[in-house]
Amino acid sequence: MKCCRVVGPLWAAVKHPAFARQTLLVVQPLDEHGKDAGASFVAIDRAQAGIGDKVIVLTEGNGVRQILQQGDQVPIRSAIVGIVDAVDIGS
């Protein structure tokens, strides 16, 4: 899983049926200091996240299929599964 910041929502009228009724958000991976690290990507939202929220993003398809329970043919790879309240990296 990755720690990310929610950049914003994404709209798509034409999409694969598996994405019906899913909220799509662009997320930016962060390092342990909260700075941007790497390229942004797209995830479905399973935690009611909002713009600017720090979130935990699952980036593996099997886990996503277990969450969605829509069978084993779901072409979705990343899902926001938690909102981060705090990160403590010690001293």
């Binding site: 034409v14 999409k15 694969h16 799509l24 942004s40 990507f41 779901v74 790879r77």
Partner: protein, 87 residues
Amino acid sequence: MYLGIVKGTVVAERKASGLEGAKILLVQPVDEHQKPTGDLQAAIDTVQAGPGDLVYLVGSREAALALTPSFVPVDAAIVGIVDGVAT
């Protein structure tokens, strides 16, 4: 999943079995500001996208799951045409 811009069409008459009739597009992965991130790639299209479209793709194993039949040799599939991104 990640964003990309469709740059062109790939024509390949001879393909692996399972890919008959599949449309292949050239896609430049981009960030939310449509700035390129990484190299151009070929992706299977499932949503009738065209050159110039901003799309989102799914990669790796899940790309094959976007197709019917799903056990096919692909690692990138276009699964949506993006109307807008709020940043």
